[in-house]
């Protein structure tokens, strides 16, 4: 019961408070604050090395990343020190950017082991990768599809997609985006999308945009197009100076 805290906003699904995280003794996240509501679609933008993946991994409970201070709440429950497998049970699932190869088990048999959902949606189509070893000897696009299948099998409440769109050609990008839209967003799950090029956002239409630079969220905005266009035109340096900078969350 100690994990249930009174002074958090109960309308929020995820709350991150002043989160400071180190990896290999290096400070990566320098006081992150943001909140995600139920059913909300949020995009996190940021340059290489800004800490996006560290943030995603920290939310999903990767013990490699050491939380120095700050708190993470999910459904009003403090999960800051909770192991990753318990977070999955609460409904937090991360689609990895670069999932490691796991030899000796096919995706199909792995799904049988982890599956919470009754059956996989038909929108996934004919899946040749089911019989292949997990993340082994498959293309980049197939890895992304494998991550998506696993996410759906876990029947989550909140999904973090860490660069699910990277390395996908236009056809596969559309396919992945349509599955996310139909099977996750339309089914009212909350989503945090981490992306570089932002093309996928035209399909998913996030309602909140966060910009992470050098371990800090420097912008929170409702219109992803404005933020994305600014970044594309002027780079992230401009972000720091733009008028929306004032809107960044302070706590």
């Amino acid at each position: 019961m100690d994990n249930y805290v009174k002074n958090v906003d109960k309308t929020m699904l995820l709350q991150i408070k002043n989160l400071k995280v180190k990896a290999n003794s290096k400070q990566i996240l320098k006081g992150i604050n943001f909140r995600i509501k139920n059913k909300e679609i949020v995009v996190l933008l940021g340059p290489n090395g800004s800490g996006k993946t560290v943030l995603a991994q920290t939310i999903s409970g990767n013990p490699h990343y050491k939380i120095e201070s700050g708190e993470i709440y999910f459904n009003n429950k403090k999960i800051t020190k909770m192991p990753p497998e318990k977070r999955v049970k609460l409904g937090i699932v991360l689609a990895w950017q670069n999932p490691p190869a796991i030899k000796g088990i096919s995706l199909e048999n792995f799904l049988k082991k982890i599956k919470k959902a009754k059956e996989l949606p038909s929108s996934l189509g004919n899946l040749n990768i089911l019989s292949k070893e997990l993340n082994t000897n498959i293309s980049g696009g197939e890895k992304k599809l494998s991550e998506l299948i696993q996410v759906l099998a876990l029947n989550p409440k909140f999904v973090i997609f860490d660069e699910i769109d990277s390395g996908l050609d236009l056809r596969n990008l559309k396919k992945v985006a349509e599955i996310i839209k139909k099977e996750i967003i339309d089914r009212k799950m909350a989503v945090l999308i981490i992306t570089h090029n932002g093309q996928i956002l035209n399909y998913l239409k996030p309602t909140k945009t966060l910009v992470l630079v050098d371990g800090q969220i420097i912008c929170e905005h409702q219109n992803y197009k404005i933020v994305l266009n600014t970044i594309k035109k002027y780079g992230y340096e401009k972000c720091k100076k733009c008028p929306f900078f004032a809107n960044r969350p302070s706590s």
């Binding site: 999903s60 409970g61 990767n62 013990p63 490699h64 192991p83 990753p84 497998e85 999955v88 049970k89 699932v93 991360l94 990895w96 999932p99 490691p100 796991i102 030899k103 000796g104 088990i105 792995f110 082991k113 982890i114 919470k116 696993q150 876990l154």
Partner: protein, 303 residues
Amino acid sequence: MAMKNAKNVHFLQIDHQVKNIFSLEGVVVMPSPIAYKKYPWTKRLFLNEPKEGYFIWVKKQVDFPLRTCISLASFKTSQNLSNLMIIEKNLKIKAEVLCNALKNNLYGIHQAKGKLILKEGASLEYNHFHFWGENDLVNPDYEFYLEKGAKLFYHYKNFQPPKNLNFKTSLELEKDSQVDLKVDILANKSLVNLEENLILKGENSKGIIRLRLVSKNKSEIKSLAKITALNKATGHLDCQGRLVDNYSKISLIPNLVCLNKNAQLTHEASIGKISEEELIYLRSRGLTEKEAIDLIINGFLEK
């Protein structure tokens, strides 16, 4: 664990008693002591008069696996087996061989001397499974002789090793013969000594030894693997080990001896811990740490 259906087992021995012999046309199956007396030519193969064990002589093609099962069932039983299997020319045979303890704390001894002869052009897929109690002592010592053009695929699997396992395998290959030896061992509170000795005697003989070793719960695995090329031949040794904790140990000693300038012997080896990243990935899919370790180990051994 016994074979699921004893009727399908061609030779079944429990402790010292032969419980079942299932002979079939073209395949002679009998206890080794009887074969020693009935076929005088076996004397040079058995070396000493056998006390127990099986004799299997495959003279005709059979299209199903030959199965043997030798079990320890009583407290402090000490088996001393002499097994002999002969596959006649050009036959393609599959064998499933199980040796086990039917209970955990029997403090038994299983000593087995085995000799397998593959005549010219014969082919054998030999699947050898061991399941032991944690206080048993097990010493299998098997010799394989491959005549010209013979092929052997030998897979030894031991995921439930005894307290002490001394596992010796020697393989002698004549011209154009091939062997693929795969040894998978998951040592758990065990002391395991492995000794593989592959002799590439004939021209164009080929051999590969693949070891997949996992050591956990204060186990120790020592492996001496030797390949000798006496002729123009190729041999490869592939040893991989994984340590699950800091209290276990694996030592691999490869030994390649090349006595012919046209022979090629190669070797690769690695020992390491379980990948942290793989572990976290599986935990981020809802598996506990123990479940994740088991899955990674099984995958590693199945490779």
